[in-house]
């Protein structure tokens, strides 16, 4: 595990945030219909603590977005709300412009085409890489169908393809439990791909990775972003810069700043939040 990556996660390097570019922030502009993800005025609190406070966020089809923010900014909770794990107290959450996500639970949302990678890599350790991907493949989801299911040629082809994309071909029959941390992260991304989602929510994909792995992951995500909408939550500023996409900075459950990485890192509010304390 790379210590540098961890160190980078701490936003204590002001030089990263130079070259500011001012852009409008606040309420999302644009219409619900044009978006793949649409959150407006969302709030949620746990035992009086407001984890998300009047959050508005929107993602266009095919867009990749990086979300940054200090610990407790509400990044993971936002993902929980989108994927149906947490119900917002108020506010609107729409997928594809017209599907109200607050009315659906996790499996339903997942089958609609929202895939999620957890902060802590979560794969099926009792299975091989191959089985992990096979289970993730879109298609059979009902219990009874799965009883009689045999793998099709098409499925086989997709698995091979994903294995190549995620550079795991040589580990195909290895138990997931014996993968390295980085390999597990990739496998999980691979499982996301196998789901054929429209949107990928990726939570800290490079945490604990070596520099080489981090770079590789950035490349992988850029690849994916060509055909999918992606939200990446990350602490690692270097990685976010590598991605080269629009950045949203969350703080105390709402959007603090939004724009290019240079713009956001130059935003005095952001600097205040990261360094002010």
């Amino acid at each position: 595990m790379s210590e540098t990556a961890l160190a980078l996660a701490e936003p204590d390097e002001p030089d990263v945030m130079t070259g500011a570019e001012v852009a409008a922030s606040g309420k999302p502009a644009g219409h619900r219909e044009d978006t793949i993800l649409y959150l407006d005025g969302v709030s949620v609190s746990f035992d009086g603590f407001k984890a998300i406070n009047n959050l508005s966020f929107l993602l266009r089809e095919g867009e990749m977005r990086a979300v940054i923010g200090p610990n407790g900014a509400g990044k993971t909770t936002m993902m929980d709300i989108i994927t149906g794990k947490t119900r917002p107290d108020e506010g609107e959450v729409f997928f594809n412009g017209n599907v109200d996500l607050t009315r659906h639970d996790e499996p339903a949302i997942a089958t609609m085409g929202i895939g999620r990678k957890f902060q802590k890599p979560t794969v099926f350790e009792g299975h091989t890489v191959d089985d992990n991907l096979a289970l993730a493949l879109s298609g059979v989801r009902s219990i009874f169908a799965s009883l009689a299911h045999r793998r099709t040629i098409e499925e086989e082809r997709r698995i091979v393809e994903i294995l190549e994309t995620t550079r795991l071909s040589h580990l195909r029959h290895t138990s997931a439990a014996s993968l390295s941390h980085g390999q597990k992260q990739w496998l999980e991304i691979g499982m996301l791909l196998a789901q054929s989602p429209k949107v990928l929510l990726v939570d800290e994909p490079v945490a604990g990775m070596t520099d080489a792995e981090t770079a590789e992951t950035a490349r992988l995500l850029r690849d994916i972003a060509r055909s999918h909408s992606v939200v990446v939550v990350e602490h690692d500023m270097g990685f976010v810069r590598d991605l080269g996409v629009k950045v949203t900075c969350l703080h105390e459950g709402s959007v603090l700043s939004e724009g290019t990485i240079d713009h956001v890192s130059a935003d005095p509010k952001v600097i205040e939040v990261y360094l002010g304390r």
Binding site: F118, G126, T128, L135, R141, I143, S146, A148, H149, Q195
Partner: protein, 390 residues
């Protein structure tokens, strides 16, 4: 057709081997009891037939627990309840078969109702004079209970220790309920004094042999079922739910249904085990619902090795054979031996006897494979059998 399905699921040779062994025992033991004369060195006394018949039922019960615990990771501390319900359904049929041969000679009412002055048969006893009805109830009663219980518990995402404890509460509540004489199940004495099953005397060696064989067949079917389930995509899903429930949910699966199916199927298996057990031991009483009994099932499974198919079978037979032997050999000290066995197995064989053996076997295979530089070769034996997870 069915065989074809199972074969397509790719049963591995371990399962086939155990099937052969179980069926061979199922045929040879009763045969040695019936056909060989009493003095013959290979003659199996009826006592052993009854004893092993009981073990086979316990093995099926342990296997059913393994399906939910080993594969899906649900530690049920209430599996004894399903076993007992199946047993009661069979017991009720056997009671109705007594007919006028009860001590009071009442044609419909079982003895315990007669001396408690009950005038007519309670509604839930009707239908049990028919074997087919009882056979359905053997599966339906535990299955339904498991389905309803699971439906609520799994949908509310009750997991881990909480789930274990409420399954324990379930069996405890049922025990208290069945102890009540007002329930109409014979209270503490339960159901006993059975005469015959399907017209054959329950005490004859032939009937006992048939019951023994049926138990062996039921166990073999259980092995087949668990093996087939384990090898199917559903089986992989069960293990996936066990290892990372949230992941399956975010992949679009509904783990509650995965669990519900396994739980219900397992309860039905346990019910069948109970139904076969009752005519062989001749009594069913609320003690079978006791939480301690359910814990014992867990222990058999763990001793043998959970998450493996033959593990729970070996565990159930070994622990119970040990119990039978110790209670006769060292009546005052057998609990020490039993207690020590449980401690030793957990400490030294965390994967159970079979799990550990397989682990060793795997390691051996891998070693050989490595020597031959055959990379990526899929080693067969334990692949379709999930490793015991923590």
């Amino acid at each position: 057709m069915i065989t074809g399905y199972f074969l397509r699921q790719g049963l591995n040779r371990w399962i086939i081997a155990s099937l052969v062994v179980i069926l061979a025992i199922g045929i040879l033991v009763p045969a040695a009891n019936l056909l060989l004369p009493a003095g013959h060195p290979l003659h199996v006394p009826s006592y052993i037939v009854a004893l092993f018949g009981k073990y086979l039922c316990y093995a099926l019960l342990a296997l059913s627990l393994d399906l939910v615990w080993g594969y899906v990771g649900i530690l049920s501390l209430g599996h004894g309840a399903f076993f007992a319900l199946g047993g009661y359904a069979m017991g009720m049929y056997l009671m109705r078969q007594i007919g006028t041969r009860g001590v009071y000679g009442d044609p419909t009412l079982p003895d315990f109702m007669v001396f408690l002055n009950w005038k007519e048969l309670p509604w839930f006893w009707s239908g049990f004079d028919q074997f087919w009805f009882a056979a359905i109830m053997v599966m339906l009663a535990p299955g339904l209970l498991a389905f309803v219980f699971g439906w609520f518990a799994f949908r509310s995402r009750v997991t881990g220790v909480y789930l274990s404890i409420i399954t324990q509460a379930m069996t405890y509540a049922l025990m208290l309920a069945f102890f009540r004489n007002d329930m109409g199940f014979g209270g503490n004495n339960g159901l006993t004094d059975f005469k015959d099953i399907l017209g054959y005397s329950i005490q004859s060696d032939q009937t006992r042999a048939a019951l023994f064989l049926s138990s062996a067949v039921a166990l073999a079917l259980g092995v087949l079922l668990v093996g087939a389930l384990g090898a199917s995509r559903y089986g992989k899903l069960m293990v996936a739910v066990r290892d990372a429930e949230d992941r399956t949910r975010f992949l679009g699966y509904r783990p509650e249904f995965v669990k519900l199916f396994a739980f219900t199927a397992s309860a039905v298996m346990a019910g069948i085990a109970g139904a076969l057990y009752v005519p062989q031991v001749g009594i069913i009483n609320p003690g079978e619902f006791a939480p301690a009994n359910s814990i014992e099932i867990v222990i058999w499974t763990a001793v043998g090795g959970r998450g493996t198919i033959i593990g729970p079978i070996i565990g159930a037979i070994l622990v119970n054979a040990g119990k039978s032997a110790f209670t006769g050999l060292f009546p005052e000290y057998w609990l020490f031996a039993l207690g020590a066995l449980f401690i030793a197995v957990t400490l030294f064989l965390p994967k159970g006897i079979v799990g550990t053996a397989m682990h060793g076997w795997d390691a051996l295979q891998r070693l050989r494979a490595a020597r031959r530089h055959e990379e990526g070769r899929h080693d067969g034996p334990a692949a379709s059998q999930p490793e015991a997870a923590e």
